[in-house]
Symmetry: C2
């Protein structure tokens, strides 16, 4: 490849999207056709690309996101770097790399980022790369070592969401408490008691009720809430609790 990218460095991005019910991941189709038109294989991968010479790793990740979702200024976090010498040595990976003009012998290190969005903020059909949402629980295998990257991203998300206000990144600005609760349930894989959850919410000053309710739902409409980052920043205190 003769562009302005670094041949042995890439960034892969696990884009998590919440749809009020499930946790989803944005994936690209990876389809390789033979000369005669027959499909050699067709599977899916995370979104990623090589790092450009002048850009930081964060900028590179933000660029993927912009290209894939059209979104800027969204939550992005570097979580791990994958550098196993044989990570691109599976048959399909080699065929694919050759087909796009990359040397399959190059040892590529990939820096993993994850990002958090609400699926409704992404107009997938308008994006440059035609990515699609997949239910996280239905994803079995992925191209390259991307299943491993996805697993590690989920772990990082689970760890971080326990102590940081990440859930709000997965929600629209105005949300119901049921949706907020659902996020913790699907991300952590647990069930939460509704009343205990709401008690917890009410003890926190930065989840603020709005003077607005859900519209057009065929049941009792829920109160809408928002997250105030200002209040969060102003009131947060460090938590030094530990367990062995």
């Amino acid at each position: 490849m003769n562009d302005n990218t670094i041949p042995n460095l890439s960034v892969d991005c696990v884009i998590f999207g919440f749809d009020s019910e499930k946790l989803n991941v944005l994936l690209l189709e990876r389809k390789l056709d033979a000369q005669n038109g027959e499909t050699i294989f067709c599977d899916h991968t995370l979104v990623g690309h090589h790092v450009r010479t002048g850009e930081t790793l964060d900028e590179s990740a933000a660029r993927i996101l912009k290209e894939t979702t059209g979104l800027s200024n969204i939550y992005l976090e570097q979580f791990y770097t994958f550098g196993n010498p044989d990570r691109l040595k599976k048959t399909r990976a080699k065929l694919w790399l050759e087909s796009i003009g990359r040397n399959p012998e190059t040892r590529v290190i990939s820096i993993g980022y994850f990002s958090l969005v609400n699926v409704n903020s992404v107009h997938v059909s308008y994006t440059e790369r035609h990515a699609k949402w997949f239910d996280l629980k239905e994803i079995d295998d992925l191209g390259f070592d991307h299943k491993e990257i996805l697993n590690k991203a989920l772990e990082a998300l689970q760890t971080k969401i326990k102590t940081n206000p990440l859930a709000f990144e997965l929600l629209p600005q105005k949300f119901t408490l049921s949706h907020l609760q659902k996020i913790y349930e699907v991300v952590l894989g647990i069930e939460i008691d509704k009343r205990n959850f709401r008690k917890k919410v009410s003890q926190v000053p930065y989840i603020v009720p709005l003077k607005e309710k859900q519209q057009k739902v065929s049941h009792k409409p829920a109160q809408l809430y928002m997250f105030s980052r200002d209040i969060f920043e102003a009131t947060k205190k460090k938590d030094f609790n530990f367990s062995f």
Copy 2:
């Protein structure tokens, strides 16, 4: 450089060592002398080196550790990757890289690891690279972007020690509860009540008292304890608690 290393990839390792009182970091001296013998500058850096073509990133980090401390099989964790395009562009960095035959224009990405040892397990004078322990709190600046790397490593350590049994990696096999307590105090920068701390210890089955006491201390000798990883693994349960 014409060895079997990858020119734009390095691993830097923050080696934390506990000495019963403080948290220390193992640093190398970086001294550049002119032809006439005058010193151009002298400062300190983390230990690190370029990744070899055939080795994984973990192996590369373990190799640094072995070369610097003589130790194998010690706690090592990848915590962040540093890839700013200008991270090696400070004057001293450029002079240094030239002096060791590296091209200062190469954009080098560094994968950061931290490791945890007890200072007494390391015979620093015997090591290949003549590293020295420095009190973490006294370290002001470091060569390259290593202060930034150190800061990030400390953050990662603080986060992880709150929920994982890392403290024992900083201790000898047999330790007193005062030393265990001290680790949490110096790593997290807090003060802990002795009685509450010991109550917490006694509720945990994998911190086990030995039939042995401290020897040759000029005060009441303390009970020695050990950490049983077997019991830890057998009894640990996942903690799904969260806060917003």
